[in-house]
Amino acid sequence: MNYLKILWNGILKENPTFVLLLGMCPTLGTTSSAVNGMSMGLATMAVLIFSNLIISCIKSLIPDQVRIPSYIVVIASLVTALQMFMQAYTPEVYKTLGLFIPLIVVNCIILGRAEAFAAKNGPVESIFDGLGIGLGFTIALTLLGGIRELLGTGKLFGATLYSENYGMLLFVLAPGAFIALGYLIAIVKKTAKI
């Protein structure tokens, strides 16, 4: 399989948020602003690339019946390491994302890609798959965060575009996340013909 195709597959054809509808909890929970969405996407991407790489390397050493616990241990270790790194070097981001970082462990996207892709393909392909799916997730979260931030507070990436007084608070809160996500999925399905 050609690497570019794997990458494109993750970004659009099998976009985890718009097409596979996986990882909805962090998608709805962390996208109150574009920056938050992007940070969450990048954090997930980092875990995904490494978990795909490690799992594709050790896949033949793992007996079938214990593969899920083994994958979970690998993923959980990566997430815990990421959490410590973020606490140490990007405390501001860590403070905003907080609880959602440890929750990456149980994110279906990561276990799903480990099962569906890394367990069947070589290390290089798996890295590209992690990169593609991770980018797809990051783009989706940034887009959703951007829309919610713009409609809710009149800002985009922290830069004020119009006064906050005209913002619709609804979009910063949970219902706005569902509404914006619903419309985004509809638009993507319609335009991308997937």
Binding site: S60, L61, P63, V73, S77, M84, F85, L169, L173
Partner: protein
Amino acid sequence: MKKLPSTLPNMLCVLTLISVIAAGALAYVNKMTAGPIEENKARTLAEGINTVLSVSDAQVQQTTEVEDANGNPVILYATDKGMAVQAIDPNGFGGTLKVLVGFSDEGAIKGYTVLEHAETPGLGAKASFWFQKGEKGDIIGKNPGEKELTVSKDGGDVDAITASTITSRAFLRAVNVAFHAYAGASATDAQSGASAQQHAKAAPPQGEE
């Protein structure tokens, strides 16, 4: 390469091996990041204390942990420039509110900062600036020892955040708790026995809507 068959010894060995390697790697990362994490925490705390005391170089001399009337932890930071107190109120609109308040020697509020909250963005989240100097609910310079801080709806003289009375009440309760802890600490220092003793009693319970 063929997969290892799922026999008991195989599964045991693989799982143990993976767990041991993972634990080793995590111990290494933990050792590497423990230093910077501690530094971050210390820096955040120092910045908070400097903000609420409106100085730039306060040195913490003594840290005391006490409990308020409801068993919530209150931390007192005695510095060379005054006292900063961290207190919480568990009954904000979205959960626990954690504030850090600086007091002058007379017990007047010098400054505050909201360390943690889960209030509604655009409404209760305004607490971080609403009660600052010059804002609508200005509490800077007020002394909770002379008059307990309450919102005007409850007969007090602090303007609550528009549409966020519950947040405002929780915030003021936390500030009052901080003051009582501060007054209690001053009393044990035997500086102003009688008056501080009087304030050291528990904050009266207030009804929620």
